[in-house]
Symmetry: C3
Subunit: 335 residues, 3 copies
């Protein structure tokens, strides 16, 4: 059917949705929300804050056809902490969508949008968040789509770096990852908004860099960032920050809910980070990881002050709250 043209900027679909102003707005909201959380989390039976002003509770629809722990729970928790609610609108067992009596995506989204205020989509396909964004007048968040993008993870990573190490423009950042990983692509694309002093990609030798990643790195270079390429994680341990993930993510990124035949990737030695390597290098590099981790990040690292990945999970909450708050207020993305 004919669809009206929805206002541009309603959706957060990829790193390109986000402008420098949007990023600053997310940072400011996340910092305020973080401060409020800490204030309330002070122990004891202190006088409760007055929450006199309440809007109607909003309903956040989660439409996930791909396994997720952190992202699903993270958005649900962010909604709850804002006083809103979440509804799981993809339910393989009980929904009719995709079953023999299923309805089309179009009809399903027309129903979901009648009952909710914002849709969070995760999919093993690249197309689903874009389709939902086109079909619905509601704001849509891409929470990871196949091997394409994962912009909310990139916002979390940038906020974690800022919170734990300071302004990214003063820092050297290394990324050790499959160059086809969606979180990695969104992260490097998002770095254009505040290019680091130095950027280093650590990837498998002899494997061509994924073209969109190559393009994103070329853009960083054109903005004055010093770019290097290495093939051993030891060569990243003089950087301020290392974001590390496994080197072959493609099978994982495409796994759908029904498919169980996804193996943990076993990293070969040059791409596995251990406490010994960090200590040998006398490195104070901040280590981030989007989790779940695989063998690329040995548990021996957990006790070192370098380990930032669990604080990163904590910091994901105010970032997801900030994203929801902004979009529920109808503020467009201007990227």
């Amino acid at each position: 059917m004919q669809r009206p043209n929805y206002p541009s900027g309603k959706d957060l679909l990829g790193a390109d949705s986000v402008s420098r102003d949007d990023l600053d707005d997310i940072f400011a909201r996340a910092e305020r929300l973080l401060a409020e959380e800490n204030e309330e989390d002070a122990p004891g039976d202190q006088p409760a804050r007055l929450h006199l002003i309440r809007r109607r509770p909003k309903v956040i629809a989660t439409l996930f056809d791909q396994r997720s722990t952190r992202t699903r729970l993270g958005f649900q928790a962010a909604a709850l902490r804002l006083g809103h609610q979440s509804l799981d609108v993809y339910d393989t067992d009980r929904s009719r969508m995709g079953s023999a009596t299923g309805e089309t995506l179009d009809d399903h989204i027309r129903t979901v949008e009648a009952y909710s205020d914002l849709i969070v989509v995760r999919s093993h396909t690249e197309s689903l968040p874009y389709q939902v964004g086109r079909l619905s007048y509601l704001p849509v968040i891409n929470a990871g789509n196949g091997a394409d993008e994962h912009p909310t993870q990139a916002l979390i990573d940038l906020f974690a770096i800022r919170n734990l190490r300071g302004d990214v423009k003063d820092l050297s950042i290394a990324l050790s990852s499959d160059t086809r990983a969606r979180f990695a692509l969104s992260f490097v694309k998002m770095l254009r908004l505040s290019p680091p002093r130095r950027f280093t990609l650590c990837s498998l030798p002899g494997v061509p860099i994924n073209p969109p990643m190559r393009e994103a790195i070329a853009l960083l270079a054109s903005l004055g960032c010093k770019v290097s390429f290495v093939h051993n994680v030891r060569d990243t341990l003089d950087h301020d920050v290392l974001i590390i993930q496994m080197q072959d993510m493609s099978r994982f990124a495409h796994a759908s809910l029904g498919s169980e035949a996804v193996d943990k990737e076993t990293e070969t030695e040059p791409f596995t980070l251990t406490a010994k390597k960090i200590l040998d290098a006398k490195s104070d590099t901040l280590i981030l990881n989007p989790l779940p981790r695989f063998s690329e990040l040995d548990v021996s690292c957990d006790a070192l002050p370098n380990a930032g990945y669990f604080r990163q999970v904590k910091l994901s909450l105010p970032v997801r709250m900030a994203i929801l708050e902004r979009m529920l207020l109808g503020i467009p993305w201007t990227g």
Copy 2:
């Protein structure tokens, strides 16, 4: 065991539960709730409304042993928008009910009623909502039971007609449907409270009309409504309103959660509505459909102004809110 006699009118089990006064009350509540929603949905960062007066959040239990998207999400969303909560109390994977270590329905309901304030039942059997209504002192809503009734859908359909076309008593209404469909039976029975000027049933030739439906139509005729019978959807396109669904719903209506072998009904040509038929007839008939649709309603209709079925979904929210609000206040049905 012996059960006390619960107050009559606590449950909404079928069209007979509802009196003309009850219907007016639901319409008035739904209209107020709709106005409040629209007020709050105005865009921008306007000063929030004060919600100073809050009752204890109520818990709506959903006990569904049959697939559902719209009805389950619809009641959950209605509960959330009222500031209440929902709990899924039928969970094939995790509950003990019906498993080898399961407990009886009686014991299960005694537990559910201890934790909740109202029970919404959907079942592939006719008996379950009546059983739950007898077992529990809580208000019980029948959200569709086998091939019996679906009174909340009928209330939604009547409110959609009123909202989109005006008072039903001034209108001509056509229904193209399996005469055994539960939504259809509840709708025609509910029409007795405000008979339309004219009512037309469009159904398969040579298939006897289901006796309860025949009885409901006879009652309409006895109340002065002009009744006709046709066998081609083209013959309904001079009516003010057409509610259309597939012509063989029985297998669908009886499908339980576990059964996957339910085929989409393929409509034969005389019962399939297309944009071409509407345009050929120069018809301004309002088209409603309880959804999910099957081949009876071609997507070519979606772009026409006649298509009311997606607005119908939107309007289902204030109606379900009105039903919950009324029943949680303990106001009895007087039908």
Copy 3:
């Protein structure tokens, strides 16, 4: 990794966590919450209470790897009634934990604790709640672990006795149960805080009493409680209270979510309670049962005034609310 030492008393893991003062505090909170519920449940459209002071909604994580109806719904409902929320963080279908791409328990708990305020654990293993309590700085509730303990059920049983029969120290209490049942062990251990006048164990003849149970009963005896052992439920019907459950619970207690091959235990005649036995004995013994019941408790008992087990379910709600309220305020267990 190295973990900090978390404050002692943050978790409710077993009967030993609870001191006499803690028990009194739970009773006082539960009684206040019960009074507030009854006040609000008065029928009609009375002026709503003002809930002006609201804290941030808290998130209760439920991590259950074992089937449950009452306990899961009970904690979810308790959270909702307190204005808080629950998140199911063990989801066999959708979570990565335990799947081929799963993460370790340690990593999973680090994520869960970032998104929630309290973790409720039920497991078919004995170890899981203790592990989670050690891994997380959040308060952890053991809601039943294998054949070990079930302390929240014991608090519910004690509150039900108090509410329906008065102070336990003035009463004679009988327990007919498998001596390995976790609820039974927690109950007898908890009795040390307020020993009854008389305690009688009814169990299978020729089956040795489980050592931890033997120890808990010996402690009761050392505190001045008169202890007896019988092998027929008829011999308990002169007591003030009888808590009855099946006599072989071990297979049941160890069943995990995936396992369906758990049979209902069939009680032999001496351990089955019927209305006839109660009436023959002219007994006014209060009958409690943690539910689900099996053949040990015939439905003929339900109509007698002795039947306290459904009121016990109702009373579980203020007790679970009291436990959550106390632990969310950070008040330690001092047992």
